[in-house]
Each structure stands twice: as C-alpha cells, then as structure tokens.
C-alpha cells in the first residue's frame, strides 16, 4: 500500500460502507413492527394516539436525512482540508 491516494480512497470507502450499514440496519428494523419482537411498538405513547410504530416511521425519515447531512458535512470538510 504505497499509494497514499489509494489509502485515502479506501478510508472513504470504509466510511461509505459504515453509513450504508447503519442505514440498512435501521431500514430493515422497520419490519420488526410486523413481528412479535416489535409488539411493544404497537402501544400508544402516553395519552396520545401516536403509537411507537408511527413514531418510528417519522424518526427514521428524519434520521436518514440527518445522516445524509452529516455525511455531506464530513465530505465537505475533508474536501476543504
């Protein structure tokens, strides 16, 4: 591994894969709602009508957008450096 550019690219590849892995785990965790393991999510939160399942959907959308923003920021910072 003498090419520093290749080492840099491989580091960035690991980051891409890490973000993707987290994304995929979160995404497929949504299917738990339809299994017995996700049963607690079907309960309402306090006195509201919002269930854990509904909250999970909203949070996943927001988390994914947040992850993209973080990824973009890291890329941007690295480019500037």
């Amino acid at each position: 591994m003498t090419d520093p550019r290749l080492a840099y690219v491989q580091r960035k590849t690991r980051r891409r894969l890490a973000f993707s892995a987290v994304h995929l785990v979160l995404y497929f965790s949504f299917s738990l709602n339809w299994s017995s393991w996700g049963e607690p999510l079907s309960h309402r939160l306090g006195v509201t009508q919002v269930t854990g399942s509904l909250l999970m959907f909203i949070l996943l959308v927001l988390i994914f957008i947040g992850m993209e923003f973080l990824f973009l920021q890291m890329e941007s910072k690295e480019t500037q450096e």
Binding site: R5, V9, R16, Y27, R44, L54, F64, E68, F71
Partner: protein, 556 residues
C-alpha cells in the same frame, strides 16, 4: 360500514401492488370511468402549455447528443434533486399510498419508507462515484473496468428491459388514471401521453425533461401541502386529534395505528423492502440524472435535496392518509349504493382534495396526477433512447467513435420508436392484469442492474464473466419467481394457489444474482478476468478524485 370495509380490504392487495409499484408509477386495481372533469382538463392544459414553451426554449440548446443525454451537465444540485423527486414521486405514490392508508392505516407506511429510503443510500454509495466514472448512463460506469463491448450489451439489454416494462405500467396507469380523473377514454390518455412525451424528449432532450419534472414536483408538493394544511385546520392543527378522529371513523378502530391490518407476514414486508430499496437504486433513468450536474459535489447535493423533497412528501402523505380515514369514512357523498368508494380506492386521495378544497382543488390534484405520469415517462424515454443510441450504437457498434450528427439522429429515432412501442403496448395491455408488469422493473433492477453496478465499484474480484452470468441469473430468476407467484400463477393463469408465495421475489433473486456473480468471478481464470481485477484500484482512485481514465474505458 363493516361490509364496505371488508370490500375495501379485499381490494387491498391490488392497492398494495400499485403502492409497491409506486416507483414504477403504475395505477392498478379496479377503476371506474368518472364524469367529464372540465376543471381538471383546463388545469392540465395549462401545464401542457407551460411545459411545451419550456421545450421550445430547450430545443435551441439541444443540438448534440451530449446535450440530449445530460442537458450539458449544467443542472444544479437543487434543480436535479427536485427533478429526481419529480421523476420518482409518481401518481401511484400519491394515490396508491394514500389509498392504502385509507384501507389499512399504518401498513401503508411500509410503502412510504421503502420509496424514501433509497435516496440516502444513493448518496452514501453511488452519487459521487457514479458521477465521476460515467458520462451519460450507468452502463458507462460498469464498462470502465470490464470488457467494454460485452458488458455494455448485457447492461443495455437490462436497461431496455426495465424501461419497456416500466413504460407498459406507466401507459396502462395513464389510461386508467384518465378514466378516473378526467372522464376521458383510455386510448385518448395513452396517445396523449405518448405525443406529449415525444414532443418534450425529441426536441428538448434531458433539459426539457428536467424542467417538466421540476414543475411537476413543485405542483405536487404544493398540492399535498395545501390539502394537509386544510385537513389539520379542521382538527385545530393537532395531529393527535386527527388520529383520534381516524380511529373513531375506521371500522378497525385503534388497529389502524399499528401494523397488521393488511400485512401479517414479516417476510412479505422484507420482500417489499428489498424490492423497493434496491430496485430504486438500479433504475437506469434515476441513475442517469446523476450525470446532468457539473461535478461530484452537485451529484451528492442532488441526492440530498431529493431526500429532503421526498422525505417531506411521504411525511405529508401521513396526514393525507389519516385525513382520508377521518373525513371520507362515513361520508355518503363518496360512496355508491353498494358501499364502494366512488371510483375505487385509488380515488381516496382525490376525494380528500374534494372534501377539503372543492372542485378547484380536485381539478388541480387531478391535473397534477396526470402530469406526474408525463414526467416519469419522459425520464424513461430519455433513458431508453440513451441505451440505444449511446450505449449500443455509439459505444458498441461504432467503438466509441460515432459521427455526432448520426448519433443525434439515431437518438431521436429511438425516442420515436419508444413512443410508438409505448402506445402499442399500452393499448395491447389495456385489459390485462398489469400488476406483475409493474413489479418486474423493480425486481429486475434490484436483481440485474444494482448488483453489477455495486460490485463494479466496490469489489475488486468482479470479472466480466461473473457480471454477465449474474445479470442473466438475476433476470431469469426474477422472471421465473414472478410467473410462479400470485400475480401470474393465480391472477393471470388462474391457478388456485401460487407455487411461490410472494409477489416481490427481490429478497431471493437479488442474493441469488450476487451469489452467481461471486461464484463465477472467483472461479474465472481467464486472461480477461485478470485484467478486470487489475483495473479495480485505478478505477477506485478515479471514482473518488474524478479523474478520467486514459481513453474512455478500462485498461486493457
């Protein structure tokens, strides 16, 4: 009310198909022609006039094949993000997902999440590298390190297959949508869509297509926002109050706030998730949009803005969906004498527009729904034409050195042929069960184009032979399992039980394609295989730094 709900629930599988095929933009399920809707037609004509004016302007700059394929690479990240959203947020997303929430409550959310989740992954994995490695199509990317001629032919055939299947679903969807929303005959819709798209694409290329998609996305987001505000205004801007009202009105009561009304099986959920997520990432007309921006930074921003627009859209659909439950159930104005929802379940979203904003908002949303089909078909047509003229003619037949004028002429001929094919197949499939055709492009894209694209950029061991065999295995297994599944084996052929239980075999066919690619690649001892592996590290560096290879293709 209970009988009506049971009817609606029996219709849910069809609705699920249209929802899952949201990316394919199809409208399936039962459809009834409605009375002539003059407001909707006038509003749609305004959209047409506006987009044709844009096409006229775009035609002045679309004088080369490059301008045709990627709008000269001058689209900004924000514009491209809006165009991607416009390309993907189909009529089926709006009508199908809202309708599924109307019937099954929370279960509709799986379709919203599936349609949204591809975009973050597009940014993490593909946006920058695809933009850096390709010129006009994703086939440019996979041909960088593999045997150019062979892999281009394989990937182009995959592209054309996806585009044709997608087009059939679109055209049949357009015909049905026109009957539903405008009260016009099926054939009028199919011919109108094709003629307009021919005008946009043949003269304005990717630039006109981009602006059609941007305008459509803007109108759709405006419309759903307006409806959501009007719904929330009736509940004191309280989402909790909206859910309470929905629970009170829906025959299933509180059950609609949790999973299980329509879907019971977690494996079925996983099959939908896989097909929607990885299918979207393998759609050639979506990947092609990454080449319309000037640099890799703008490509990443495109994916980010697309996520913002679509995340917002699917969150707003949550309000619309539960709004239909709260304000449509129990309202006799929207049900016929048999207790059926007027026009079928796909009309739930239009009925809520009517309930909230009267004829004007109904007409507006109907016009926007039809405009969505135009935008999607335009994107597909550009992609199909590029596969024929760029990938096959210019790069394979002419070995990368075509006569520019001839290439542009072939591009426009390809557009015309695709338009003609779309009309013929659209009319031929009018009375067919098209649900399986709507499923095919997503499953094929997940099992053919996605594995090749991913491994070409992330696995040093990939060889041309592995990619070829994997693509064939992915395509044939998709075809086989869809034929053996409920959509063909039961619905089309008429058997009682399917031989394969799931509608969307992506969960099985995609891993199978990956396994074949891996096995064939690691056992490939050919000289070409060695070159393919040796090409990987230089490709990796180019993919991050944006340098072009010596020549267009791979070393060797």
């Amino acid at each position: 009310m209970k009988a009506m709900f049971l009817f609606l629930l029996r219709s849910a599988p069809l609705l699920v198909l249209s929802g899952v095929a949201a990316a394919a933009g199809s409208i399936d399920g039962e459809v009834e022609q409605q009375p002539l809707n003059t407001t909707a037609i006038v509003m749609f004509l305004l959209f047409v006039v506006m987009t044709l004016l844009i096409t006229w302007r775009a035609a002045k700059t679309t004088t080369s094949s490059a301008a045709f394929y990627n709008a000269g690479g001058k689209i900004t990240g924000l514009q491209n993000g809006a165009a991607i959203a416009g390309d993907f947020m189909s009529a089926a997303s709006f009508l199908g997902i809202t309708g599924l929430i109307f019937v099954g409550g929370f279960d509709g959310m799986i379709l919203s999440l599936g349609a949204f989740a591809a975009w973050p992954l597009l940014m993490f994995m593909f946006a920058k590298r695809v933009r850096n490695l390709g010129s006009f199509t994703f086939v440019d990317v996979v041909s960088q390190r593999l045997a150019r001629g062979q892999i281009r032919i394989v990937a182009s055939i995959g592209t054309i297959a996806v585009v044709i299947m997608y087009l059939i679903a679109q055209m049949v969807g357009a015909g049905k949508l026109i009957q539903l929303l405008f009260g016009l005959p099926y054939e009028v819709a199919v011919i109108t869509v094709s003629a307009l798209v021919l005008a946009y694409v043949a003269f304005g290329g990717m630039l006109a297509t981009t602006w059609v998609q941007i305008i459509k996305a803007t109108l759709l987001l405006t419309g759903v926002t307006l409806i959501a505000i009007l719904i929330l205004a009736r509940t004191g801007f309280s989402f909790n109050e909206l859910l309470s009202l929905a629970v009170e009105k829906h025959p299933k009561g509180e059950a609609i706030l949790s999973p299980g009304v329509v879907f019971k099986d977690p494996v079925q959920i996983a099959t939908i998730q896989v097909s929607m997520l990885f299918g979207t990432l393998g759609l050639p007309h979506i990947l092609m949009r990454l080449f319309t921006v000037p640099d890799m930074r703008q490509a990443q921003l495109s994916a980010f803005y697309a996520s913002l627009f679509m995340g917002y859209f699917y969150l707003v659909l949550l309000v619309l969906g539960f709004g239909t439950v709260a304000f449509i159930y129990g309202n006799p104005e929207y049900f016929d004498a048999d207790g059926k929802l007027t026009g079928g379940i796909n009309m739930a979203a239009i009925h809520i527009a009517s309930a909230m904003g009267g004829d004007i908002l109904t007409g507006f949303m109907s016009a926007v729904s039809f405009a969505t089909i135009l935008a999607v078909v335009a994107g597909l047509t550009v992609s199909g034409a590029a596969a024929i003229s760029h990938d096959l003619y210019a790069q394979v037949i002419k070995q990368g050195e075509p006569d520019p004028k001839t290439e542009l002429r072939i591009t426009r001929i390809a557009v015309f042929v695709i338009g003609l094919v779309a009309v013929v197949l659209g009319i031929a499939f009018e009375n067919e069960n098209v649900a399986f055709i709507a499923v095919m492009p997503m499953v094929t894209a997940a099992s053919v184009t996605f594995p090749i694209l991913l491994l070409s950029m992330f696995w040093s061991g990939l060889t041309t032979r592995g990619a070829t065999y994997g693509a064939i295995a992915g395509f044939l297994s998709s075809l086989l399992l869809i034929v053996l599944g409920p959509q063909v084996w039961v619905s089309v052929i008429g058997n009682e039980q399917p031989l394969f239980p799931y509608d969307y075999p992506g969960l099985f066919t995609m891993p199978f394609a990956f396994a074949v690619i891996w096995l064939v690649s690691v056992t490939d001892r050919s000289a070409r295989g060695e070159i393919d592996r040796a090409n990987y590290h230089s490709l990796l560096v180019r993919s991050e730094f944006g340098e072009k290879a010596a020549g267009e293709g791979a070393v060797g």
